[in-house]
Symmetry: C2
Subunit: 446 residues, 2 copies
Amino acid sequence: MALSTANSFSPSLSSKHASKQPELYTWFRSPNAIALKSPPLAPASIELKRNGGFVLGQYKVNCRIYASSAAPMMDQTVSKAPTIVEVDLGQRSYPIYIGSGLLDHPDLLQKHVQGKKVLVVTNNTVAPLYLDKVTDALTRGNPNISVENVILPDGENYKNMDTLMKVFDKAIESRLDRRCTFVALGGGVIGDMCGYAAASYLRGVNFIQIPTTVMAQVDSSVGGKTGINHRLGKNLIGAFYQPQCVLVDTDTLNTLPDRELASGLAEVIKYGLIRDAEFFEWQEQNMHKLMARDPRAFAYAIKRSCENKAEVVSLDEKESGLRATLNLGHTFGHAIETGFGYGQWLHGEAVAAGMVMAVDMSYRLGWIDDSIVKRVHNILQQAKLPTAPPDTMTVEMFKSIMAVDKKVADGLLRLILLKGPLGNCVFTGDYDRKALDDTLHAFCKS
Amino acid sequence: MALSTANSFSPSLSSKHASKQPELYTWFRSPNAIALKSPPLAPASIELKRNGGFVLGQYKVNCRIYASSAAPMMDQTVSKAPTIVEVDLGQRSYPIYIGSGLLDHPDLLQKHVQGKKVLVVTNNTVAPLYLDKVTDALTRGNPNISVENVILPDGENYKNMDTLMKVFDKAIESRLDRRCTFVALGGGVIGDMCGYAAASYLRGVNFIQIPTTVMAQVDSSVGGKTGINHRLGKNLIGAFYQPQCVLVDTDTLNTLPDRELASGLAEVIKYGLIRDAEFFEWQEQNMHKLMARDPRAFAYAIKRSCENKAEVVSLDEKESGLRATLNLGHTFGHAIETGFGYGQWLHGEAVAAGMVMAVDMSYRLGWIDDSIVKRVHNILQQAKLPTAPPDTMTVEMFKSIMAVDKKVADGLLRLILLKGPLGNCVFTGDYDRKALDDTLHAFCKS
């Protein structure tokens, strides 16, 4: 099959953190370099700043990213003051607040509420745990605000149009107008549905993300991808729509089931693999702390994940190239979720198996050496995540579902594959079809 | 009730065409002025050009509009070459092509198709008339293009989520990817639904509008408002999403029923009332030609309507103020459509009755003199449009439905009302509630 190089995208990503001990005013001048600048008076807070232009495919992207960073965990103390990671999208820029106990600081939330009416969208698992707390944070000292809520059933299998309509019903019955604010309180499913509802209600109202799972805190709440599933494929209906802010209260992880926690770690591992080798190495050394829910380790993992996500989204909001690399393992993973049945596996579980398949294919293509394959297996096993798809998945199921993936362009399936040393990947349709076939057959019984 | 002047918006619109016989290089220097410039070699084509800034509320809008214009009908000849009205929205700018027989020029359509797959969204009334013609225009001399279609039931009562899902089903089953193009072939309902489907499918694909009704050609296909109805209100779910182009083949009006034709004239009349007194006067003199389907009169009415719409949309795409003025009569009208039952009255019929109510209220407020009231009645009667709501509408129905209108802000209903000489309006929540009550009681039996 003739393949066009026009479908190949190789951003030549290098590991962005060149030093474990950032030095004051150290500047890196390569196209992907980031200037690390540590204000002398705040040694635990380091400003990541990227200036200048970056050529992405045919487009020149002007970018400017401000994100607080930190030295690795061992040098850090946990603070109640929020860490702020800024997603730089011009007029649509917004902060991600990360910290312990943030829901006890109403000011942080209230300054992003527009209008007098708020609709909290949550589910029947999260509502008993945090709805009262969030309602209090929205209204304390602010009696003019009225808060409505809609409690949806929990789970990926409810991320559909029928459930979405319940949000619209509630908003209209509550007579919410264009100056209202929607608040997503929950994991990735709630964030995606509430965001899409906010994008569509009255052709767009403000919204705020309060993610309560690792998955949502490190990935899905950041970057404005919203949407719902179709019975034939994941996230096929939706919108790019940015929130006013993302508020990550790390205390909410205290109530998260182990399986949900591990699911989120799949996305944390992904950032290391696609663009941040040093972060991957940190994870290899600290996965036992994450699995033991060490709050300092989690604060660091969330922050560094959000920095990676914010940087990529700022460079390529609408996924014309670079942003697609955040979907390592997701094309295989979405096929598992759709084929095996929404909600059977958690999103991160499917992504973990999908990453193993993408890594296997990269190795078959001769693009990575076998040490990376082993390290990926090892870290996923440490995180108690699957390293193969469910037995019921067949080669034909993968092929037919992957054919409707959003990354198909003019009939050609483009994939994110690793290429080169750890921390480097490509988004491309320019690969040998046999490698894909071999990978599918290696992981499926039929 | 205390009213805030912050909710008042008065753009001080003046009649934009200062001369019936445009002179070469005549410039008007007021903030609302438009420079009329006629190229010497093309006397039937005049370029409307607006340069510089325009202060809209708190925002400074930089605008640049190019639109071809023409002398009034009596001086004009009908040409096969399309008139082009440009909607200037920066990177999202697009042309409106207007002319007779444009569907016989495949190049015009094909140059706006992106990717190899097209989905034509139409209804069971329009499909037998124009689907083959449009499919031919899309594929003639271009064998790489594959065209799918989805034929929806006709009518406002099908403008809902269930019908929208049929578009997604067809798109996914046809394996359309992000490089596909959706084509809306039909009236306002089809355009709104197809546009919203295009905005949401894979988080956004390209689309083209081919409006086949007066309503769609003069109003709904231009400006990127897309959406569906909710049982509790019109257009409450949707997106601002611009097409790649709008192609108005005026020959499609040959098959339009009289009632549909009259419905579209309500929007034509609206432009005259809110911002173009000279156009209103032209309509008073030429309504008999429009009712007799004089093609030259229609070509002019469509073009001048599109110029008005394009100019307003270019200045205020997301309806932060000025654009709301295009909704004269629509808040009352939407209440009629929702309360009386979607599809019972055509949109323009409801808007016509709504305009009479808005004009009545403006007169009660002392903002216009009675000559305007009479002229509005007269022109609507000439166009065989209603001048009062259906008998079954009650004051309470109006009030409860209007409470969920998109123009409500923090509980305050803002309306478009006429104020001053013909061609001037305001968008405001700063009016005496008694006038609204009096108008509702004057037009409802209970």
